[in-house]
Symmetry: C2
Subunit: 109 residues, 2 copies
DNA sequence: CTATTATGCAACTAAATGGTTGCATGTCAA
DNA sequence: TTGACATGCAACCATTTAGTTGCATAATAG
């Protein structure tokens, strides 16, 4: 899961995922057209995405087609993000209660 | 949003969020007890989390209480992650169709 | 007032990161 | 077969990052 978070923290890599979202199965060359860095730099980013299993490559002759795999994103949500989704966790409401001197479980002693 | 992704990519910072999830409003010193690095290192991590608005500090005398703010996580999901949640985007099924020679919209030409 | 406690600030270091350039390899087309 | 095209590999560089140590400041306790 660490590899997925690492992969997502770079904006260029998130852009690559967005590009594959709108047009799946693109080659390295095609993806390069939408970024301002060299082909090798894009290739490295794709390697990181592949290592996180977010992109699955398929060789077709001399072309390498890149396919988006959203499964790790789903896992990130299910196993980490979803537990923070409870609105009652909202810090501001808790702060308000703290400032009101209203002691409760989640407060510091 | 970039700040939030950056904040999340470090496992120590995710652990801090988890610690605040289980016990909100902890001081720097309390949080340090659960990590193996120096107080200053933890302090830096908390600064990153504050910059991303994931942690909201509240000074109480000489103690700084740290409160979890899950709102940016919700935003990450709503504005970025949620669009990848459609199962039909699954790369493997697309690859299968590609390999079956079944041309479709989402394919490369 | 003095000690101790909780935190902040600044400088430094090692390692990771994001990018480059140059060259090699394999596939397709004429 | 030859040349162009798509990609990979490796070395290198600059910046960021994650951590350290040392010292400063402010609040509480005795």
């Amino acid at each position: 899961m660490d590899a997925v978070f690492k992969a997502l923290c770079d904006p260029s890599r998130r852009k690559l995922l967005d590009l594959l979202y709108t047009h799946n199965g693109q080659t390295l060359g095609e993806l390069c057209e939408h970024l301002t860095m060299t082909r090798q730099a894009v290739s490295k980013h794709l390697a990181v995405l592949e290592a996180a299993n977010l992109v699955i490559p398929l060789w077709q002759g001399r072309e390498k087609l890149h396919y988006l795999n959203p499964a790790p994103l789903q896992e990130i949500y299910d196993r980490w993000l979803s537990k923070y989704d409870r609105p009652q966790l909202d810090a501001l409401s808790q702060l308000k209660q703290t400032l009101e001197g209203n002691p409760q479980e989640t407060n510091h002693e």
